[in-house]
């Protein structure tokens, strides 16, 4: 029963269910991994439908972009501490190296600033070693309503 779960496990289960309801995340196999006060981590296990280069088995940069966009949006909600409609304004992704075929890609994004209507994010994607990232992102999100307790 859910009474046996720690608050963290309950949160994980809640987020897992919410994410399972997003069709494009389902299609890419993207799942919840971890979160903190102002960051979120999602993972995308290696899967045949992600491949862009059949000769090498390397996955599409577009799939990594989707992972990072999703982790970024999630980090904004985590920092806000509640659900709020938000939309990506812009996202830049630097592809530092190809993801290694067969490995799960992990996207970790921090929402480092929220002003009245804009949230700022930065993050990395890696496939096991955060010090050896495969991608780096920065971006901004528009918040559809004003967050309480912010003055900027």
């Amino acid at each position: 029963m859910s009474a046996d779960l720690t608050p963290e496990q309950r949160m994980t289960r809640y987020v897992d269910r919410a994410m399972a309801a997003v069709p494009h995340l389902q299609a890419l196999g993207i799942r919840f991994r971890a979160m903190g006060a102002d960051w979120a981590e999602l993972e995308m296990p290696y899967a045949p439908q992600l491949v862009a280069y059949p000769e090498t088995g390397v996955i599409a940069s577009g799939a990594v972009f989707s992972l990072m966009d999703s982790a970024a949006g999630f980090s904004v909600l985590v920092k806000l501490g509640r659900f709020e409609h938000h939309a990506t304004l812009d996202l830049r992704c630097d592809y530092l190296r190809p993801a290694e075929p067969g490995k799960t890609v992990i996207g970790r994004v921090e929402c480092y600033k929220i002003s009245r209507s804009v949230a700022f994010v930065r993050g990395i994607a890696h496939d096991g070693e955060p010090d050896h990232p495969i991608a780096h992102i920065t971006g901004t999100f528009m918040l559809m309503t004003k967050p309480a307790g912010t003055s900027a």
């Binding site: 389902q26 439908q49 992600l50 491949v51 599409a60 577009g62 799939a63 830049r92 992704c93």
Partner: protein, 128 residues
């Protein structure tokens, strides 16, 4: 720009087709992000492939690999649950780098839903 007969799995998952000079991502439930709109990542995936194919087309006959260095996507409007189109414009093709601009739109070509800038690395195979 020509889409290969045998699409790589990711492009096949997006259901990509070619229509004139544009790439089309037909609407499908699997592209949805939040209720009632496309996931921004699916639109970015479409635009990246359009940019990559445009560079490959410009290098027709040249033996080279084309790899993304970075992409910046500006989201201009919500992606509705409709077919999405993308067209890439080559700003410059050098020996090692291509600079590309990509636009995505839906029912109205004059109301783009996203604009992207891509830099791609061109790795030319030197004759052995």
């Amino acid at each position: 720009m020509t889409l290969p007969d045998q699409l790589p799995p990711y492009a096949a998952m997006l259901g990509l087709r070619q229509q004139g000079g544009a790439l089309v991502m037909p609407y499908d439930v699997s592209l949805i992000g939040s209720p009632g709109r496309l996931h921004g990542g699916s639109v970015a995936g479409l635009m990246e492939i359009a940019g990559n194919l445009a560079v490959r087309a410009a290098l027709a006959g040249v033996s080279a690999q084309v790899k993304p260095i970075n992409v910046t996507v500006d989201y201009l409007r919500e992606g509705a649950l409709e077919d999405t189109f993308a067209e890439a414009f080559l700003m410059r093709i050098g020996r090692r780098v291509a600079n590309v601009r990509v636009e995505a739109w839906q029912s109205d070509r004059n109301r783009p839903i996203a604009a992207a800038r891509m830099n791609l690395l061109i790795v030319r195979q030197t004759a052995a």
